[in-house]
Symmetry: C2
Subunit: 67 residues, 2 copies
């Protein structure tokens, strides 16, 4: 599972802390997701998509998919 979180955050010039507060999670969670240490839960993925006004598919991509 790879994601464009870091790019989207950079486009808005938000710190990991800023993003964490908007998503109502800890800064470490944002960091862990950005650095690929783990995947967000589905509810959190929806919050992320909502925040950026994108679909989950536009932010996260499943490497196992045969696109």
């Amino acid at each position: 599972m790879i994601n464009r979180l870091r790019v989207l955050r950079a486009e808005r010039a938000w710190s990991q802390q800023d993003l964490a507060e908007r998503l109502d999670v800890s800064r470490q969670s944002v960091n862990a997701i950005e650095t690929g240490r783990y995947d967000p839960s589905l509810p959190l993925a929806f919050r992320i998509a909502d925040l950026f006004g994108l679909t989950i598919e536009e932010i996260f991509t499943n490497p196992n998919r045969k696109d």
Copy 2:
């Protein structure tokens, strides 16, 4: 988080067991997701969407969203 899994499964006349095998999870997991006892992980949500040829947003809806 509510989902249309049961409907999609019924449209194809698959048992929970059939669906579980296609998703490579246990039947109890399919049942728990259908009955809303918990939400799938993001990777599993992607597998479900791929299997039905839909987007995650077309299958799962976040009740907290202001649509």
